[in-house]
């Protein structure tokens, strides 16, 4: 009787075992994982499209010989045990519905039970997507001219690794499409013509933008130097043993206000040196760091510029101990790492310019200059930090006279001129007209389906 009971138990056990074997189908441990076909497919598509050749092929006529070459290339790329099917679909839009229509398909064998696929969106090489920027001043009728200082007889400072001339070329490439007229001032003499409102220069001097890519140095024309005919607009004798070129910076401020310029300093402390390699040839005409052809102005340069911009008198020199100090002395300071404002991040996407949103500011300007010189801070690129702004455009909008602006990028070297470009574009806000991406018959989807022979 017990034996019969045990036999029942055994039948139940074996039944359970059989059911378990039936339902718990375990793969062989060696079949743990096949080659990742999806990623193999993706890498195949990307490498075949390395120089746009796959894209070029999939837009060719279905009888073109290039399809045969593509088939051979696929066969040669993939392992012998992998079969493929490459399908190309036309993308079209009808009544708001996207349709995918098979345009061409090539394959080398049928698939087993399992396959994986990856896809690539190809855009026809015959289609050009253009971006048309609005010209600065087009709406207001000012049609602002962009003048970029490209003086071959000047040296730059705080632009380590670059020259003023190379940065001028880069600025030209980045900004010229936004301006009706862009003029490179190739010598300090041409800069002199600009200061004198000469009609011999191309473009319109009134309401112009003047970019100085020489960093903390500013080119100075011979006429404004000690022996030049307009020396009193550039050179100033403080006392018997002290002289300065901060008067030249004052003149720049006056001209900026007079002609309603936007003066752009791309990096560091603005107007800290003046440079003219043809005139400043003396043994002491260097910046103490091995760059000759320039003379230090110091913090007085920026202070004098701001006083000129605000139509204040020039001479505010005072003696502190044994040192002559101009105005408030050194006003810029180091504030460390600063970050983009949300407005700047937004404009990065709008204009397609992507400098790092985190930068180090060593020459940030205090908010106090806004009250001292009747300035309004526009288009700030970085968030304020401890009452200091690392980069913004200061528009002169008060006091006895209005007009003129200073864009000061108080970052540390090496300069990223994209920050200056962004600052200028944020200030003038030209629109950008982009061509529509959804043009019909310009895009195709390529799918590459892979399977291991016999299935898995």
């Amino acid at each position: 009787m017990r034996t019969v009971e045990v036999l029942f138990v055994i039948i139940i056990l074996l039944g359970a075992l059989l059911m378990t074997i039936q339902f718990a189908v375990l793969p062989s441990p060696h079949q743990a994982f096949g080659t990742n076909l999806r990623e193999l497919s993706q890498s195949t598509l990307e490498t075949l499209d390395g120089k746009g050749i796959l894209t070029e092929t999939v837009f060719k006529d279905s009888n073109d010989l290039a399809w045969g070459d593509l088939q051979k290339a696929l066969s040669a790329s993939l392992p012998p045990n992998v079969v493929y099917n490459l399908s190309v679909y036309d993308i079209s839009s009808s009544g708001g519905v996207i349709n995918y229509n098979l345009a061409k398909s090539i394959s080398d064998a049928g698939f087993g039970v399992d396959s994986e696929a990856a896809s690539l969106l190809a855009t026809s090489p015959n289609v050009t997507f253009t971006i048309t920027p609005e010209k600065v001043g087009e709406k207001t009728g000012e049609n602002n001219t962009l003048y970029i200082l490209n003086c071959n007889d000047a040296n730059g400072w705080w632009i380590t690794g670059y020259t003023g001339q190379s940065l001028a070329t880069d600025l030209y490439d980045l900004l010229s499409s936004y301006f009706t007229t862009t003029v490179l001032l190739n010598t300090t003499d041409q800069l002199g013509l600009l200061l004198e409102n000469s009609t011999s220069l191309e473009g319109t001097i009134q309401n112009a933008v003047v970019m100085n890519p020489f960093g903390e140095a500013v080119p100075i024309p011979y006429n404004y130097t000690q022996n030049g005919p307009q020396w009193d607009e550039g050179y100033y004798i403080i006392d018997a043993s002290h002289d300065t070129y901060s008067k030249y910076c004052y003149t720049l401020g006056v001209k900026t206000q007079q002609y309603n310029w936007t003066w752009v300093s791309i990096v560091g402390y603005p107007l800290y040196y003046v440079s003219n390699t043809e005139t400043f040839t003396g043994p002491n005409d260097h910046n103490s760091y091995g760059i000759h052809g320039m003379i230090k102005v110091g913090p007085a340069g920026l202070n004098a510029f701001l006083r000129g911009l605000d139509n204040k008198s020039y001479d505010v020199w005072r003696l502190e101990g044994s040192d002559w100090v101009y105005g408030d002395g050194s006003i810029a300071r180091e504030i460390g790492v600063v970050q983009f404002t949300s407005q700047a991040l937004d404009k990065c996407n709008y204009y397609g310019i992507y400098p790092s949103p985190y930068q180090t500011a060593s020459r940030a300007l205090p908010q106090s200059i806004e009250g001292d010189y009747h300035l309004e801070r526009w288009a700030p690129i970085f968030e304020l930090k401890s009452g200091y702004s690392a980069a913004a455009t200061y528009r002169h909008a008060g006091g006895a006279t209005e007009g003129g602006a200073l864009t000061a990028i108080g970052l540390t070297r090496i300069p990223d001129i994209r920050v200056s470009v962004l600052a200028l574009l944020m200030y003038y806000r030209p629109a950008v007209y982009k061509s529509e991406f959804g043009a019909s018959c310009t895009s195709r989807v390529v799918t590459l389906q892979l399977g291991q022979q016999g299935g898995t």
């Binding site: 009787m1 062989s28 890498s43």
Partner: protein
């Protein structure tokens, strides 16, 4: 009473037997499942490693081009992105062959890693500047848990051979994919014939052209102006077929039994300095020792597989046994081919150093040896190096038993 006991005993015996049988089957199933899970982990690790190698440039990104310490492993070309590998980072991988393959140069006292593509064509990098397997495993976080190996081989096999002909030089170029001959492949070739130059230094004359392979995947390239079949030359051919690119290299020396007389040893990746050393200083082959007069030419590989010659300092010189090497410098950030022609024992010869592994389709093997492990997972990707198509295979195995 006795019948009941016997009945119990039989029942218990049968029950125990049935339980043992059932447990054995279940045990087998569980063991199989556990092994499957273990293997699956290995396979997942293989995917992880190949993705890290292909899609991550490492840290710092340009570690292959600088002398900076490597903090994170990756082989992606940071400028090209996607599945493009850095030709310079690959030069920094210590070959997986054993230490006996290393080249010791007595004058600098350094060992050099030897990545040889073919006879007369190799990359010799200072071992101290190369990444070894253990360091890479540590950076990948698998040291002691998983083993791996990387094999990066050109997708196209471009084979060059000299066709017997009495009148002038004919070369045969064959292009094959895995198992198939490829027709209609465009071949962009460069022939560098070594000739007498000014003084004792050899010179090169260059011929180039474009042909296509025929239906059997081969093409004959004739050089009617090269009638001296003993002439020394180097031949490079770039093959392209609908986005698939390959390279073939062939050199011919007037003396083929001797080892090369000079060997270019990379001194500094960041500066692109290369020492041209006398081979006898690396391995003494007996007397007489040849004096060598070399002429080094660097060709930058540009888009469309064009080779452009670039002037390099100290391009000609003399190398003698036991003397300090001659130092030349190539533009470190430009991938290309350094062709060194030389005269020794009155004969012309040449040796080639690819600057960037893709320029001559050099294969790379890096990592451990999977021999003896029961389960090895492999992953495969298509990649490009210097626009040359490669296949990258990662093999991974568990070290945990």
């Amino acid at each position: 009473m006795a019948g009941s006991t016997i009945d119990h005993m039989i029942a218990v015996t049968i029950l125990i037997a049935a339980l043992l049988l059932t447990m054995g089957v279940y045990n087998q199933m569980f063991a199989s499942a556990v092994e499957y899970e273990g293997n699956r982990k290995v396979a997942m690790k293989a995917v992880d490693i190949i993705n890290t190698a292909c899609i991550c440039p490492g840290n710092p990104e340009d570690w292959g081009e600088t002398n900076a310490s490597l903090l994170g492993f990756g082989l992606q070309d940071p400028e090209a992105g996607g599945y493009a590998l850095s030709p310079y980072s690959l030069m920094r991988l210590r070959s997986s062959s054993n230490d006996s393959q290393l080249v010791y140069y007595d004058i600098t006292g350094l060992f050099y890693n030897n990545i040889s593509a073919d006879y007369g064509c190799g990359i010799y990098s200072p071992v101290d500047d190369c990444l070894n397997y253990t360091a890479a495993a540590k950076m990948l976080g698998i040291n002691g848990t998983y083993g791996f190996s990387l094999d990066i081989v050109p997708t196209l096999d471009v084979n060059v051979s000299q066709v017997p002909n009495e009148d002038y030089l004919i070369l045969k170029v064959e292009v094959r994919g895995p198992g198939i001959a490829l027709a209609d492949v465009t071949l962009n070739y460069y022939m560098f014939q070594i000739v007498s130059g000014k003084g004792t230094y050899p010179s090169i004359t260059t011929q180039n052209g474009i042909v296509q392979t025929g239906p059997y995947g081969s093409a004959l390239i004739e050089f009617p102006n090269i009638t001296d079949l003993d002439t020394a030359y180097s031949f490079i051919v770039y093959a392209s077929l609908s986005g698939l690119k390959g390279v073939g290299y062939y050199s011919h020396d007037t003396i083929e039994d001797d080892p090369p007389y000079i060997v270019p040893l990379i001194q500094d990746f960041e500066n692109g300095t290369i020492a041209i050393a006398h081979t006898w200083d690396v391995h003494f082959f007996g007397t007489p020792v040849p004096n060598v007069f070399y002429n080094a030419t660097f060709f930058v590989l540009s888009q469309g597989f064009q080779l452009h010659q670039v002037q390099i300092p100290n391009s000609t010189g003399e190398v003698n046994y036991g003397q300090p090497p001659q130092i030349i410098q190539v533009p470190a950030s430009e991938a290309g081919v350094l062709l060194i022609t030389y005269r020794g024992r009155g004969q012309f010869r040449s040796i080639v150093l690819p600057w960037g592994v893709g320029t001559l389709a050099v294969s790379i093997s890096f990592g451990g040896d999977p021999t003896g492990y029961s389960f090895v997972a492999t992953e495969l990707r298509q990649v490009s190096v210097n626009d040359i198509s490669y296949q990258m295979k990662v093999s991974t195995w568990s070290l945990g038993g």
